[in-house]
Symmetry: C2
Subunit: 381 residues, 2 copies
């Protein structure tokens, strides 16, 4: 099967090179921007791919919702299988693309959009066919894991580890999507849609790591906790819950062994029990390997990851409750229902009574609106 590649950046080059060696697959044309077509296999218009009857599948690794969606829809309508690593595209337009693919009887697969080399969505899609997925989630963003791990192990401050991560290529020049939790949120949206047939929309909550300090990390570490940015999802009566927030796990928990920019995804099957998958969540070769796994799966009959009729649905994050660690101005500590508080000059570090996820995220929003600096993390006992 000849595979066209849309995009020739870090991942695109990896996919193109792997195609030369994979059984049953063949290098096709590569779509690049006008002026970048310096090799005969590079083309600059999507029509050259969509109208080429020798192309059996299209692998999109450009990123962004447009023009990726227009290209994807055109490829699927032309009867070509479509594989992507683009989480923004699938989070925004997944149900539409799935419907076109089913109508045309071709594949729509996106393993590489969540977890890089870690085969999370693939295994979720398989598990939900014969088991009930009770919950899912994990460490789905390598940039923030690298940063939190470095802060804890090297006792560095946030700004320094961010600069290090940028220098090493683990963080982008504009790191907002990673450090705000938005990247992890998009991934948990996809995982919920694969597991439950509901792509969560309104009501999603994401708290990132922008406000964590070296003093917070030292405080956790001294009490036997490690901080990780964790995405969580599951089904509720009417829809799903889905949120991202920093979590304090006890030293010795599996999450603590996730170092550097690795990812750790998990799901719990009613029968299978808890299943954990770890590996490299980003980078040229891990991400390209996930694209190739999907392409190779098409040869064996794989066609879909979403359940038939996947649709958008409401999020209810009031169903999950934890105690939280909150660092905030001492003068505002009374705003939260706390079970303990430590004062350090103007700063209070409190442990709250169990609060729902939405209560805590909204409380932090209110406190910040009044100008307060706040960091919070769920406490997992």
């Amino acid at each position: 099967m000849k595979v066209a590649v849309l995009g020739f950046g870090t991942v695109g080059v990896g996919v193109y090179e792997m195609l030369a060696k994979a059984g049953g697959l063949e290098q096709g044309p590569v779509l690049v921007r006008p002026g970048k077509n310096d090799k005969p296999f590079k083309v600059t218009s999507i029509e050259e791919i969509v109208d080429d009857p020798s192309v059996g599948a299209v692998a999109e690794v450009m990123g962004g919702v447009e023009p990726a969606f227009t290209y994807a829809a055109a490829a699927l309508r032309a009867g070509k299988h479509f594989v992507t690593s683009n989480k923004a595209l699938v989070a925004a337009k997944g149900p539409e693309l799935d419907a076109i693919a089913r109508e045309k009887g071709v594949a729509f697969l996106f393993s590489a959009a969540c977890g890089g080399g870690v085969p999370f969505l693939h295994n979720l899609a398989i598990a939900r066919r014969s088991d009930v997925i009770r919950s899912l989630g994990g460490i789905l963003n390598g940039t923030t894991n690298y940063m939190l791990d470095a802060m804890q192990r090297l006792h560095l401050d946030y700004a320094d580890v961010l600069a290090d991560a940028q220098r090493l290529g683990y963080a982008e020049a504009d790191p907002t999507a990673d450090v705000s939790g938005l990247d992890a949120l998009r991934k948990i949206m996809l995982a919920c849609a694969v597991a439950y047939g509901t792509l969560p929309t309104d009501g999603l909550l994401n708290e990132g790591i922008e406000s964590v300090t070296a003093a917070d990390v030292a405080h956790f570490q001294g009490r036997g906790y490690t901080c990780r940015l964790i995405a969580s999802g599951g089904s509720t009566e009417d829809g799903v819950y889905a949120y991202v927030e920093p979590v304090l796990v006890r030293d010795g928990a599996a999450e603590c062994s996730v170092q550097q920019n690795f990812n750790m995804a998990r799901y719990e099957g009613a029968c299978a029990g808890p299943i954990v998958l770890m590996g490299q969540g980003a980078g040229r070769w891990p991400t390209a390997s996930a694209v190739l796994r999907d392409l190779s799966g098409i040869l064996r009959g794989e066609r879909d990851m979403f359940p038939e009729g996947v649709r958008r649905g409401e999020v209810d994050n009031s169903v999950c409750r934890h105690s939280y660690y909150v660092r905030l101005p001492a003068a505002l500590a009374g705003e939260l229902p706390t079970v303990s508080a430590e004062l350090e000059g103007e700063i209070a570090r409190v442990i709250t009574e169990p609060l729902s996820v939405s209560q805590m995220h909204f409380a932090a929003e209110r406190l910040r609106e009044s100008g307060a600096e706040v960091f919070f993390a769920a406490l997992r006992e």
Copy 2:
């Protein structure tokens, strides 16, 4: 697809119950021993299954090589898909069953034979189609992991944790296959065959945990190491390496977070990098869930886990080298090339120079032939 089940023990009951709920699958007849057919769906002769045209697939969960092999061959020859949780069967007769299945165009799948609920072989089979598997292995036996974990956390001696494991149903009345490493060895044989097309035979080495003592464990623990029974495999120029031995890993390594009777499997892809999978390696529902995943995969076109033409091959365990911790009679410590030795009365605890796996296993065999009590574990720095 109607599925017949061979065997109605712990796993068989789980498979039968899950079939009632899984999409596209249906409960068929269940083969039991004569006299045990106390329900209309139970039959006592394999012919009633093989000759039943309504049966599309057979799931075997009896264990043992015979009569499982005769039944499997008959089912495949009758054009029925065959799924098994039986590692002894696949280790002994896998290539023959794969050849019959390919000739008949039906499926031969055995996810549940390695890792229970952990989808190890499935992911290996997929990964090797588009990537190169550099090495594989992990904690593949839950019984010994439960025992080593309890020895370290509760400071119990071997005999006591074995008795506990038997009481909890984690170890069988005759625990030999688990504690000798043979069970883990069979699993790494299957993994090598899936990844490399070579089912390793002659030259396999397995060292179990029968000779570990509370004093050994206290010694490791005091030095920041945790002991795990780890299976290792990989390809060599002419074949594969495959062995099982206790390994000392540094506290904080992912293996240390594998507690109780959990399993942790891993492989390293040239492109994907290291991929780790954790979950419950045994028990009714985890194992049944793996059987159901395979059956559900057949509906989507999955047919094989072994590469076409899988064959038996030689094992060369001289290619892997580590330093070893060895506890042996002080009088014999000079028999090994050591870099350090601690004496405790009649006992020596030594660290060896790097030795090949075969050198170490044969050296221990020679020392034991002379009547010495010896425990050894590879040192992973």
